[in-house]
Structures are given as structure tokens and as C-alpha cells.
């Protein structure tokens, strides 16, 4: 008998169906919605979200969970129960009033940030940001007590269940040791031979066709999804129908192309999550770090691989002509050029970790109440000079105001990006152990064996295994290790 467990699953099923609605309403907002539609859309989304909260905060859930733990469940059901419990626990300990106040502070801060960023208005931003930090600290404290982990860990746990500061510190400290040297060596090396820049304009329709050709090659399943345009590229929808977007920049097709490749990594993960128990948390993606590892695997390990660039070069020439700047060697140089810069989202693969470590160190101190919101810009300037040799003093727009994460209260997300990059390099290393001719496979563009490896080792597991078990299973018993990432970077940028 597992009556209690089944009741829990039925609630999850309802949540799955409602989150379906939420996901598409959000997608529509970013891709299709008319300018006048936002207020009604926000209200509709709030209504659905509030209904979902009601379902989750029903009083009998705790009892159902406790009783389910006594029931006769198989290992997948147990994993599902673990995920249900985790998510319920996180939601149930936070007082409703705090959730609402926190949500409002984030909405306000994010809304005004859009203008403040443009105006370099740190002072204006700080007023709202202090509220966001305050409520995030309160949330973190309550979660910290309930989960018996540090405040910042309690926030990271949202995005990467079980991830601890101690692990991230260790990984990032290692990176900090060799990254500055690597950046300067790679830059120097590239300075010797500069690529030809893309000196003309690229038709939007052709850019989209190129994206479609390439993501098809990368296994995007068009029966289970589509590609559209939005201001910022993203991946949304549900595994049955994944919506990825890209943005078209007239001056270069590389932005739209590599954004589409990146989102295809997210999409393939979602499109290939387990179909059994598809409406249960156990079938969700494992974590945002693992999610980013898929997008970065597709973008950096495959997409920017010289053999892949060689493979898609004829497609590029088909749409944009046989010009010297479109030769594969030049495209490879363009997409892999290393240069310290202010903006994280435009940063290359080598300098990117510096952007993340900087943010991680600041937000960790912020959430653990070791620094105040006022101190963030000076910390930023110091670290920016230290890690990337750039001066951001007084330039808030290209500094602390550049990301949506902090105004949106998404503390704990940033490390996932670089963990994703490390995982991606490690997956590639271990995939290569099994697919000996992997470079030839990439050159041929018949990537099935690579997809099979990812499916067997990552996608098909959903959240059945913990992140650590998943990693060990995929990597012959090894846990996450920075060395694979370091080797990848050295191999690509110094050889």
C-alpha cells in the first residue's frame, strides 16, 4: 500500500499541469505578447502561482510525506519522495508574509533597475536593493535553520540541491590560482594573429535559417519544440514542447548562432528527461549547474570545437557567401577570442569564470551578513582590477548593475554557470573515453554517439540520483574536478 505517496503524486501532477501554463504564459510574454498585454499577463500568472502555493501549503502535506516514508516504495519512488519533501520543506518554512514582501521587493527592484542600469544610478538602485538583500537574508536565515546549513548554502540549494560553499570555495580557489596566467597567455597568443572581423550586415531570415540548420544537426527535436526570437535568449516550455529563443544582431550572425547552440543544450536535456513519472519532480532536471553543463557542453565543447566549426562552415557559406572571413579557421578564431571585458554575458570562456567568482564571493558575503549592500561597488572594483585588470570605478552600469540576478534576488545562482562549465569539460573528457574518435564524430556532424552518452549518463536520470552520484556514475567514480576544465582551456587556447 502506498496511498499517501499516491496522494502526494496527485498533488505534484496538478502542480506540473499548472506550471505548464505558467511556462507558456512566460514564454509568450517574452516572444509574442503585445505591448499592452503585460498587466493582465502578470495578474494571470500571479493567480496561477497563488493557486500552486495553496496546493503546496495544504496542511495535510506534512502528514502525507511522513506517512509516505513508511510506505513500500521502490528506489525511484523514494527519490521522488525525497524531491517532493525537499521542495515542500523549502516552501513550508517560509512565512507567507515574508514571501510576499520579498516578492514585491524583487519586482520593484527589478522593474526600476531596467532604467537605473541605463542611467548608471547606483544610489537609486541601492535603496531598492537593500530591501531585496534584507528579505533574502531573512529567507536564507530561516532556511538555514530549517536545513541546518549556512545561509548562503540555503540559497544555492534552490538551484543546486546539496551544493555547499566549502565545495565551491575549493573549486574556485583552484581556478583563481591558474586563471590570471591563462588569460594573459591566451590573450598574448591571440594578439599575434588577429582574425578578420565580420564587416557587413547579415540578413535576419538567413540567420534564422542557419540557426535552424545547426540546431537540427545538434539534435534539437522539432516535434517537441521550436525556435523563436526574444530580447534575451532563453529556454522555456515543457519537455513535451520546448521553446528556445535567440536574438538577431545585424552586424554578426555569430551571436544568434551560438546563443541558439547554447539553448539547444538546455533543450536537449529537457526533451530527453525521463518519460515515466514525467509529471513528478524525480523526472525534472537535476540542477541548474547540470543544466548549464548541458548548454555549455553544446556551446563550448561541441559548438566552439574547431572540428564543429569546420563542419558548419559550408552552411555558413551557403547563407552568407564564400568570403575569407567566413572560413572555418577565421570563424574559430572569432568565437574563441579571449579578452578581459566588463560584461559577463559577452565574456569569453576563459575570462568568464573570473566574472562568476567575483559575484560569488560578493553575494556569499552579502547573504551571510559579512558585508553591507553599500560596500558592493568597492568590492566589485577591487576584484575586477584584481581578476581581470579592469577599472570599473564609478561605472556601475557595466559593473554591479549589469545583471538581472541581484535585483531579482537570485542569490546563489551565479556559481551554477561556472560549475556548469567545469562539468561540461568533465563530461566531454569521459565521453571521449568511450567515443574514441569523438573529434572525427564532431567533424562528420553525426553526433548520435555523443547524444547517446549524454542521454545515458545525464538526461535519462532526471533527478533520480543526487548530483554526486550522477557525476560518479558518469565519470568512472570521479567527482567534479577542475582539472578537466583547465585541460580543456589550455588545450583550446594555448596549443
Amino acid at each position: 500500500m502506498k496511498n499517501n505517496y499516491i496522494k502526494l503524486c496527485n498533488i505534484q501532477k496538478k502542480l506540473y499541469r499548472l506550471s505548464h501554463a505558467r511556462s507558456f504564459l512566460n514564454w509568450d510574454r517574452s516572444t509574442m505578447m503585445s505591448s499592452n498585454g503585460n498587466k493582465a499577463r502578470s495578474e494571470s500568472l500571479a493567480e496561477i502561482t497563488s493557486f500552486m502555493h495553496e496546493l503546496l501549503s495544504k496542511k495535510n502535506i506534512k502528514k502525507l510525506i511522513l506517512n509516505s516514508e513508511e510506505e513500500d516504495l521502490n528506489h525511484i519512488e523514494l527519490a521522488n519522495l525525497r524531491e517532493i519533501k525537499r521542495s515542500w520543506l523549502r516552501k513550508s518554512v517560509l512565512p507567507k508574509k515574508l514571501i510576499i514582501k520579498s516578492q514585491i521587493s524583487k519586482s520593484n527592484c527589478e522593474f526600476e533597475w531596467r532604467v537605473q542600469r541605463k542611467n548608471n544610478d547606483w544610489k537609486g538602485f541601492l535603496k531598492n536593493f537593500k530591501e531585496v538583500v534584507k528579505y533574502s537574508q531573512e529567507e536564507a536565515k530561516i532556511l538555514s535553520d530549517a536545513l541546518n546549513i549556512s545561509a548562503y548554502d540555503a540559497l544555492m540549494d534552490r538551484y543546486d540541491p546539496g551544493l555547499k560553499t566549502s565545495e565551491v570555495d575549493k573549486l574556485f580557489d583552484q581556478i583563481k590560482k591558474w586563471l590570471p596566467t591563462l588569460i594573459s597567455k591566451a590573450s598574448q597568443r591571440q594578439n599575434r594573429q588577429k582574425p578578420i572581423t565580420l564587416g557587413h550586415s547579415f540578413n535576419r531570415v538567413k540567420q534564422k535559417k542557419l540557426c535552424l540548420d545547426v540546431i537540427k544537426l545538434l539534435g534539437f527535436n522539432f516535434e517537441k519544440g521550436r525556435l523563436d526570437e526574444s530580447l534575451h535568449p532563453f529556454c522555456a516550455g515543457v519537455r513535451e514542447d520546448i521553446r528556445i529563443t535567440t536574438r538577431f544582431n545585424k552586424g554578426t550572425f555569430l551571436n544568434s548562432l551560438f546563443a541558439a547552440i547554447h539553448e539547444t543544450g538546455h533543450a536537449q536535456y529537457e526533451q530527453n528527461l525521463p518519460t515515466t513519472l514525467f509529471d513528478q519532480p524525480v523526472s525534472n532536471s537535476r540542477s541548474m549547474s547540470i543544466h548549464e553543463s548541458q548548454s555549455l557542453f553544446f556551446e563550448k565543447q561541441i559548438g566552439c570545437n574547431p572540428n564543429f566549426v569546420r563542419r558548419i562552415s559550408p552552411l555558413i557559406k551557403k547563407y552568407f557567401g564564400d568570403k575569407p572571413e567566413l572560413n572555418h579557421a577565421n570563424i574559430f578564431s572569432l568565437v574563441n577570442s579571449v579578452k578581459p571585458s566588463f560584461i559577463r554575458v559577452d565574456a569569453d570562456e576563459v575570462t568568464y569564470p573570473a566574472h562568476i567568482i567575483l559575484r560569488y564571493e560578493i553575494e556569499k558575503d552579502l547573504i551571510n551578513c559579512n558585508v553591507k549592500a553599500e560596500e558592493v561597488p568597492s568590492m566589485w572594483n577591487e576584484k575586477m582590477a584584481d581578476y581581470l585588470g579592469l577599472n570599473t570605478s564609478g561605472n556601475y552600469s557595466d559593473g554591479v548593475l549589469q545583471d538581472i540576478h541581484w535585483p531579482g534576488g537570485q542569490f546563489g545562482y551565479f556559481p551554477c554557470y561556472t560549475l556548469g562549465a567545469i562539468y561540461a569539460a568533465q563530461w566531454f573528457y569521459f565521453a571521449k573515453q568511450e567515443i574514441r574518435n569523438i573529434e572525427q564524430v564532431i567533424l562528420n556532424g553525426n553526433l548520435t554517439s555523443i547524444f547517446d552518452w549524454l542521454n545515458t549518463n545525464i538526461w535519462s536520470h532526471g533527478s533520480i540520483l543526487s548530483t554526486k552520484s550522477l557525476t560518479k556514475k558518469a565519470c568512472k567514480g570521479k567527482l567534479l574536478n577542475v582539472k578537466y576544465f583547465k585541460n580543456h582551456l589550455e588545450n583550446r587556447y594555448l596549443n
Copy 2:
């Protein structure tokens, strides 16, 4: 004090927000959804619908309504209460079991109908259709008892509140008297001079651009909506963000253009409904007859008007070249050609009422239990021969199986189409009384004065007035009268 009324309004607000979600999920299904997405989409929609039913079937609603009736409400609030009560009454009297069984029978019948129609399979269809008829009769009977009106009236009331068989009979009987003569006269007259057919293929992108130009001219507000493509043209979304669609046929741009014009009528109505109490039933469109009157006003009264065709002729030539078949006189002849045909949705304005009257007479008898489902094809054949001189014997695909309405259980909807056409002609007549130079206005394409008339007399009223009061207010005290429609047809097709 109006505490009870306010509580009712809050429930309506929730329903409005949830129907927002439902509307866009449905729109997405018809325009964007991946082929694999349907099951998850249906389940999500069912979840939201079931939540809406829960809200509506809460036990305290009856008490809230009764108490509200004692509260101090202004005339708009009273109208709102009337609409809330009407919709609650219709929903509360039907047993949940019957609703579910009926819904399943319709889903099944509609689903299998898609294949059966192609295969001319009346026998297969009949099996499911009998179920649909049975449950629709049961529903109609219960509603009939509760509302103290006839069974068929109880179903029409869904689409056109308060509409009675006696009125429709009277209007349709009048039409039947003069329609056959009008059809034959118009056909004969057109036989004397046939238009040049459109003999080549029309680029889809250009067709869309033409549609956008023309619906802009017709006042479609692109800040509150958009135009997309779907298999069947429709209007969906919410008044804040109306989504209309059209379909592109390579062989003629006229289909996509006039479908877009038709849907723009629906869209303008929705985009201009009252903004006060926007989330309450009193601000909804008055009825489906009035809705169709707007789409047909735009399509037939304006769109097919010779002066409007003359106005848009340069736009047509801009996209498709200056060819003789694209001259305004030829386009006018093409869009206004009269010929009895099998398929309702392809029928011209003159023969269309015959298609509707035929369906109305059959479904009325069906719902009032005067005929059996088995007898429908023979009735159809007889009436088709009688009204349009066509033989549909054995041809079910182009006969009784052609419409989605019956497999979907939408009995009572058909009369709205022809009532809409009659209303549209009457609106035009009375608008002309105020806008004396209306033909010049149409020729100039500056249609603001016409939109103003529609806004003042129809759009801005939402559901505040009953249909009869709305009509009388717009038409100097006159109720709906077929003579305006007859005059319009004679004027356009016989002069």
C-alpha cells in the same frame, strides 16, 4: 454596504485571470505548439478549467448572489450581478457527472469526426453523434426546466442570452420568402459578366504584409494584439492582447485578406470593450450574434463594399503588380460572386443564410426531441435541394459532416451567424444616418467616424444593456429587422 457583491466580483476576477491563461494556451495550441505538445496542453487546460469550475460551484455563491440582490448597487453593478447570476445559474443546475459525460462524448465525437469527415463515414460518426445529442438533450432539458424556456432556447441562450426560437423563426421565415429569388437573380446577373480569375500564385510573406496593411486601415490596434497564421482563422486572447489569425492559400490572396478583415471585426469589438470593471462579466461582449455582427460588419459592410475595394486596390497592386485581374472592379466581382455551394464556410453572403437556416431547423428539432440523429442526413438532403437546389445525397463529407459545431455539441450557435449578418446590415443603415458621407469615408479609408459609431453604440456597452436595449439604443428605437439586410443584399447584388 455591498460586501456580498464585492465577494462575488473577487471570484469573477479570479475567473477572468484564469480564463486569460486558458485563452492563450488555446491560441498557442492553434498557432505555435509543437506536434508533440498536445497531450500536456490538454491536461493543463483541463486542470485550469476544473479549478474554474470549483470556484464557480462553491456553495456560498448562491447566498452571495441572493444577498447581493438586496445590496445598494448602481445600474452597472446590477447589470454585472445579472450576468454573474445568469452564468452561475446555467452552471449550477447541471450535475457534475452529466457535464463530464457530455464533455467526453463531445471530445470523442470531435476527435473521430476529423477522420470520419474525410472518409464520408456517416455510420461511424452517427454512433458518437447519438451520444452527443443525447447528453445535449439532457442538458437542454435541465436548463429548460430551470430557466423556464424551451430546450433549444436554453442552448441558444448560451451564445445569445435571451434569444428565443419565436424570434429566430420569424426572422428566418421572412428570409426564406425572398432568398431563393434573390439567389437566382443575383446568379443570373453575375453570369452575364464573369470576373477574371486569379491565375497565379501569391507569395505568403506579401499576403501577410497586405493583411497587416489592411487591418491597420481597419483600426486593428497592434499595441493590443497581433496577427498570426493558423489552419482555421480565429480571434482569441483577451481584450488587452487580442490574437487574430488567418490562413494563406497560395492560389489567392483574397482568402487570407478577407479572413483577416473578418477577424479584425471581432478584434475591434474585444479591444474596445469597457475598461472599467474589465474583469467582470458586465464588460464582456454582449453575445455571439453581436460578435458576429462586428466581424460581418467589417467583412461584408466595409470590406466587400466597392468603395473599400477601390481604396485597398493600390495596396493589392503594390504587392502583386498592376494586372487587370487586380483592378478594383474585378476584385469586387470576385469577392461578391454568388453561387450555391455545398460548404458553409466557403459560401457567399447571399447563399450563406440558407446554410444557416437549414442547420437551425435541423438542430432545433433535434434538441427538442422531434427528430432522431439518424434522420439528419435525409432532412439535410431535402432542405439542401429545397433552399439551394443542390444534391447532397450520400455526400456526407460535404453535407452533415462538414461543420465542427455538431460533433462539438455546439447546438444553438448557428443562428448567431445569420443574426450577425442581419445586425451588421442594420448597424450600417443607422450609422449611415449619422455619417451621411459614409461611402466617401470608406473610399478615403479614414474610418474613424465609423469606428466611433460602433464604439458609441456597441463596443463600449459590453454587456451592460440587454441585446434588445442595445439594438434599440443604436437604431432609434427599432429592434432587429430583416429589411435592412434584404435592402443591403438587393443593393449590392441586384443594382
